[in-house]
């Protein structure tokens, strides 16, 4: 159980004209070598900002890391120089994005974009080697007709092939960690199934660790070993995928799991819902941040800010009532 990435108490803020908005507030989790960690939450919960903070790709000058550490093999990525970060980014830790059309350069051929990774991180490679390696990568992500693809531009490819190209670029340098930020959200289900299978297969071959960010609990259940649930910049629950799905210990996780329509539910019946909506980060409720939507709220929740407490071995919940809230509702 070697931890390849440890995020400790990470806080990130964005500056606006008048305020500094804390978007990540003391986020901690570990990524285990060779495993897949899922980060799940709704819009604005900070899941993408977490990945951008780890990669030091926050929009400048507004975004900044205000505290905490990101330890990659013992090195704190938040403290090293940009030059050192360049050597890690794309080489040791790579990232794929949601929308391959905006993440790929529209005026560069696939071959040039793929070759860039090799040229940047292995300056000694000559053109023939770069080309051979590029073809290799395209083949490994299951693209056919690879010689022609190298000469094509992103707009000539379908969504699924574009995402495969992105994965090929990300994996070009055989990274230790792949951060995938909603990589299948823009794709059709049959293509999503192809891409998920590809990521799983490549992980088996290379033994890399994957951090998978998504809002789709089905995708989490399918490919993750561990799960971190985020809400308004906090980690509200984390644990193994089985613990989270079978025995959620935070009312938000429980609400999310109950509100998705499932194939075994009776049709045309009312779905369970989480009342209200995610609060504005500038106008958070006092005490527990989920308090205004929580069906189990007690007075204590409005006064005391909960901390992430251990429930079981590796299962944590940020709920004052985690021990009792499930029982009341059986």
């Amino acid at each position: 159980m070697e931890k390849i990435l440890e995020v400790k108490n990470l806080s990130t803020a964005f500056a606006t004209d008048s305020d500094l908005i804390t978007v990540l507030d003391g986020v901690s989790f570990d990524l285990i070598k060779g495993k897949t960690l899922g980060i799940v939450g709704e819009s604005g919960c900070g899941k993408s900002v977490t990945s951008l903070s780890i990669m030091r790709l926050l929009p400048r000058p507004a975004g900044r890391i205000t505290g905490g550490e990101v330890l990659y093999r013992g090195t704190d990525l938040t403290k090293i120089s940009l030059g050192e970060m360049h050597k890690i980014r794309g080489n040791k830790i790579a990232m794929i994005f949601q929308e391959p059309m905006t993440a790929l350069n529209p005026v560069q051929k696939i071959g040039d974009q793929l070759g860039e990774s090799f040229r940047l991180h292995f300056p000694n490679m000559n053109d023939d080697e770069v080309r051979a390696q590029s073809l290799n990568m395209l083949e490994s992500v299951g693209i056919s007709d690879i010689r022609r693809r190298l000469r094509e531009y992103p707009h000539q490819l379908s969504g699924g092939i574009r995402q495969r190209v992105m994965i090929a670029i990300a994996l070009a340098c055989k990274p230790d960690i792949l951060i995938a930020d909603e990589p299948t959200t823009a794709l059709d289900v049959t293509i999503q199934a192809q891409i998920l299978k590809l990521i799983k297969d490549l992980q088996k071959e290379n033994g890399m660790s994957v951090m998978f960010i998504t809002h789709d609990l089905g995708v989490i259940a399918e490919i993750c070993d561990d799960v971190v649930v985020m809400y308004t910049g906090h980690v509200v629950e984390k644990g193994s995928v089985n613990d989270i799905f079978e025995n959620p210990k935070h009312p938000y996780t429980k609400g999310l799991l109950e509100s998705i329509p499932r194939l075994e539910h009776p049709r045309k019946t009312k779905l369970k819902i989480i009342e209200g909506m995610v609060p504005d980060l500038l106008n958070l409720p006092s005490g527990c941040r989920f308090g205004n939507r929580c069906p189990y709220i007690v007075d204590e929740c409005k006064q005391k800010v909960p901390v992430l407490e251990k429930v079981l071995d590796a299962h944590y919940s940020k709920c004052l009532k985690h021990a009792s809230f499930m029982k009341e509702n059986v």
């Binding site: 199934a193 799905f245 999310l256």
Partner: protein, 325 residues
């Protein structure tokens, strides 16, 4: 037996592609290739399929936002595509639409008041007081406070905007509402709120929905019958339970097995389809699905199958378009 509110027969829509210096027609996008179905009053027909299958074109054609290339549709026994003038205006009241993107489908320069007054103004219904009280009633019905009237759409969250879009769609007491991916832009916790609202409204107002979406679990939840589309054709049509429990068409089977199941202990066999959807500009010969079908034969490459009943019983309709079922 409930009456059929909508009967669509052999609906075809081809979009011309113009190219070259003289912008001559160089080809067609075959968006709909002979779609036939019926919907009963008060029921929901779910239309599922992947990008480019023609499901949005179908919705827009039914609203007469596109003119069909051929085929006909009867709405309450009237020919939907030939009526004009006064009859058309009346019909427009009865068929409304809820759009996918609540960010783009509401005019950001209009207050919620003017968005909700507009349907009444266009159809010259009531005076200002009447419209104002209707607008308040509609907001209340979709779960928004009356104070929302003076605000603009950008002041609301995605879920609230979709509620405004729904209020606008039901303002004139429509009979048929075409919903084009109404919840796919929303977060999980908000999605279930909006689905519940749509189910309540359907019961209260006896609405008929055509619910277009790519999320099969959502479509199954809200639909009575489901049509699965692939490249402009319906490939399978039956009631919502049967299609998930006993899918017959190889495409439907693959589509259902591709849905990620929110249960980590689920160990179903994934049937991953190879390749991409072919371009609707150059449709494959024979069965359009043969390029990705695991059981395709020479016959599939040559002859196109017709949509026919797969059960042979009269109490249940299960239409499948495949040579091998």
């Amino acid at each position: 037996m409930k009456e059929y509110i909508l009967e669509v027969d052999n609906l075809t829509k081809h979009f011309p592609i113009n190219g070259g210096v003289l912008l001559r027609k160089v080809g067609d996008v075959h968006a709909l290739n002979g779609v036939t179905f019926k919907v009963k009053k008060g029921e929901t027909l779910g239309v599922v399929g992947e990008s480019g299958c023609g499901k949005s074109t179908l919705g827009k054609t039914l609203l007469r936002l596109h003119r069909p290339t051929s085929g006909s549709a009867k709405f309450l026994s009237k020919d939907l595509f030939s009526i004009e003038g006064k009859e058309l205006r009346e019909m427009r009241k009865d068929i409304q639409m809820i759009f996918q993107d609540p960010y783009e489908s509401l005019n950001a320069r209009h207050s919620v008041r003017s968005i909700l007054h507009e349907p009444f103004e266009i159809h010259k219904i009531g005076d200002y007081e009447f419209r104002e009280s209707e607008a308040k009633r509609l907001l209340n019905r979709v779960g928004l406070p009356p104070s929302a009237l003076d605000r603009f759409s950008f002041e609301f969250s995605g879920g609230q905007r979709q509620r405004i879009g729904i209020a606008r769609a039901i303002a004139l007491n429509p009979k048929l509402v075409v919903c084009d991916e109404p919840v796919s832009a929303l977060d999980v916790s908000v999605q279930s709120q909006v689905l519940n609202l749509m189910l309540e409204l359907q019961q209260e107002m006896d609405l008929t929905y055509i619910f277009i979406a790519h999320d099969l679990a959502v479509v199954r939840h809200i639909s009575d019958n489901i049509a699965v589309m692939y490249l402009g054709n319906i490939v399978e049509y039956t009631d919502a339970d049967t299609i998930y429990e006993k899918p017959r068409h190889p495409y439907t089977k693959a589509l259902i097995s591709a849905i990620p199941v929110p249960d980590p202990r689920f160990k179903g066999v994934k049937q991953v389809l190879e390749g991409d959807i072919p371009s609707p500009r150059r449709l494959p010969t024979g069965c359009h699905f043969h390029t990705r079908c695991p059981i395709a034969t020479d016959k599939c490459r040559k002859e196109s199958p017709i949509l026919r009943d797969a059960t042979g019983t009269s109490e249940q309709t299960h239409l499948v378009s495949c040579h091998y079922i």
